[in-house]
C-alpha cells in the first residue's frame, strides 16, 4: 500500500444541499484512491459563477489512482 497527500479544489454547485455535501465529496474523491483522512480546509465563493462555491479538500489516500503500486 502506498499513501499519498492530495490537496485540490472542487466545485460545489448550489443544487447540492449541505446535507448531501459529504456524499458529494466522497463520490468525487473515491475515484482518486482509498480514503484514509480528509477534510474541507477552505471554502470560497466562485468568481466564475454565482451558482458555485469552491471547496478546498485536503486528504490522505491509499493507493492513489495515479500511483504504480
Amino acid at each position: 500500500m502506498k499513501l499519498s497527500k492530495v490537496d485540490f479544489y472542487l466545485d460545489w454547485p448550489v443544487s447540492i444541499e449541505v446535507i448531501d455535501l459529504r456524499k458529494f465529496i466522497i463520490g468525487k474523491m473515491i475515484k482518486k484512491g482509498e480514503i484514509i483522512r480528509w477534510s474541507i480546509v477552505d471554502i470560497k465563493e466562485s468568481i466564475d459563477s454565482p451558482n458555485l462555491k469552491k471547496i478546498r479538500i485536503q486528504a490522505v489516500l491509499a493507493n492513489p489512482s495515479n500511483s504504480k503500486t
Binding site: K5, I19, R22, S39, I40, V41, D42, I43, V60
Partner: protein, 355 residues
C-alpha cells in the same frame, strides 16, 4: 435524567486555542460529559502526554471510528477492560523503547490496566511530516503495510485494543516545535499521528490511539501551561493506555447479535470549534440533522456556517455556554426561553403548502 449523547470534536493539527496542545481540552470534555451524561470524544481531546483521566460519562473513540459512528456504520459497546497490545516502530532506539516498556509496566502495576504484550514493526514506519499553505499539520508514513501487519499479529493473539508508538525524526523543525511549546503554533506532528491511528481503525477496526516517541528536547523556560503535560515524563504513552483501557468495543451494525451500549441513532449533538465544520464527522452530523454546537475556539480554519446555512447550528462563546446548552437540551428546555429578547411565536403561512 435521560442522557443527551453528544460528540465532542477538536480536530488535531489546526492550532485550536483550547485543545490544540497536550490534553488541554480534557477539562472541557469532563464538563461536557457531565452536562450530557454521555460524551463520545477522541484521543486528541483526552490525551495529555503523561496525564489523562477516565470519566464514567466519556467514551474514548479514535477519530476515524468516531466518524464511522456518526455515519451510522458502527455502534459502541461498553467494556470492563480492554486487553491492550502495543506496536512499536522498529526505528525507536533501545533506550527510548525501554522507557516506553517501563511506562507500560507501570500502568499495569499502578493503574491495574491490562497491557498484555507488544510487537516491533518489521520495517521502520518512516514518518514524513509537513504542513500545507494554511499551516495545517499534515504528513504520512512510507510503510503503512508494516503497521497493519504488526496489528494483525496482535489481534490474532487476542489483543482487543492497540496503542501505537511511532518514532518521529530528531530533526523536527525546532522553530515550529518551540512555537507550539510556547503556545503560539500548531502541533507539527499532529497530522501524521492522525494518519497512523486512522490506518489501524480503518483496516483492523479495533480501538486504538497513538503516542509519538521523541528524543528528549531542551528545557524551555517559556513553556505554555497548555503544553506542559508533555514535559512531565519520558514518553506520551500513559494517557494513551489510560484512554484505551476502557475504550468501547466498535460493533459493526451488521453484527446484529452483538449487544450495543450506544447506537448512532441516539446521538443528539456535535460540539466542534467554530471554523472547523469541514470534517467528515460534522458533515455526517449535518446529513443526519443533528444539533451542531459551534464553539468560539480560535484556530486556523475558516469553514463556518456562512457557507452552509445549516439551520440547526448553535454558535456559542465558550465551552461553559456549550455545557449549559447541552444541559438545557437534556432537560427538554427550549434554549430560546433562556435568552433575551424572546420573540413571539409566528403564524405559519399556508402558501406553498401541499395538501
Amino acid at each position: 435524567m435521560e442522557i443527551s449523547p453528544t460528540i465532542f470534536i477538536i480536530p488535531t493539527g489546526i492550532g485550536c486555542e483550547i485543545g490544540g496542545f497536550a490534553g488541554d481540552s480534557l477539562p472541557a470534555a469532563k464538563l461536557l460529559g457531565s452536562a450530557s451524561g454521555c460524551l463520545i470524544t477522541h484521543p486528541n481531546v483526552m490525551n495529555g502526554g503523561s496525564l489523562s483521566e477516565k470519566h464514567k460519562d466519556i467514551f474514548y473513540v479514535e477519530g476515524y471510528s468516531l466518524d464511522r459512528f456518526v455515519k451510522g456504520e458502527i455502534g459502541l459497546k461498553r467494556v470492563k477492560q480492554q486487553k491492550i497490545g502495543i506496536i512499536f516502530d522498529s526505528s525507536i532506539e533501545d533506550e527510548i523503547l525501554i522507557r516506553h516498556l517501563q511506562v507500560a509496566d507501570a500502568c499495569v502495576a499502578t493503574l491495574g490496566i491490562d497491557v498484555d504484550s507488544y510487537i516491533l514493526t518489521k520495517k521502520p514506519l518512516e514518518i514524513v511530516i509537513g504542513s500545507n499553505s494554511q499551516g495545517i499539520s499534515e504528513g504520512l508514513i512510507k510503510n503503512p503495510d508494516t503497521l497493519i501487519e504488526a496489528g494483525e499479529i496482535l489481534i490474532n493473539k487476542g489483543i482487543t485494543a492497540i496503542a501505537i508508538v511511532a518514532k518521529f525524526p530528531d530533526n523536527l523543525n525546532l522553530v515550529a516545535t518551540n512555537s507550539y511549546r510556547e503556545g503560539s503554533g500548531v502541533d507539527p506532528i499532529a497530522g501524521v499521528e492522525a494518519v497512523i491511528s486512522h490506518l489501524i481503525s480503518k483496516f483492523l477496526k479495533v480501538p486504538c490511539a497513538h503516542a509519538p516517541a521523541l528524543s528528549p528536547i531542551e528545557l524551555n523556560k517559556n513553556l505554555d501551561p497548555r503544553a506542559a503535560s508533555e514535559e512531565i515524563g519520558y514518553t506520551f504513552l500513559p494517557s494513551v493506555l489510560i484512554g484505551l483501557s476502557k475504550a468501547p468495543d466498535l460493533i459493526e451494525l451488521t453484527d446484529t447479535h452483538e449487544n450495543i451500549t450506544l447506537h448512532p441513532s441516539q446521538i443528539e449533538s456535535i460540539v466542534v470549534p467554530g471554523g472547523a465544520l469541514g470534517g467528515e464527522g460534522v458533515l455526517a452530523g449535518i446529513e443526519k440533522g443533528l444539533n451542531i454546537i459551534s464553539v468560539k475556539n480560535e484556530n486556523i480554519m475558516n469553514v463556518d456556517n456562512r457557507y452552509f446555512n445549516y439551520p440547526k447550528i448553535f454558535e456559542v462563546d465558550n465551552y461553559l455556554e456549550a455545557a449549559g446548552l447541552i444541559l438545557a437540551m437534556r432537560e427538554g428546555i427550549n434554549p430560546k426561553s433562556i435568552k433575551r429578547p424572546l420573540n413571539k411565536i409566528q403564524e405559519l403561512s399556508r402558501k406553498n403548502q401541499q395538501l
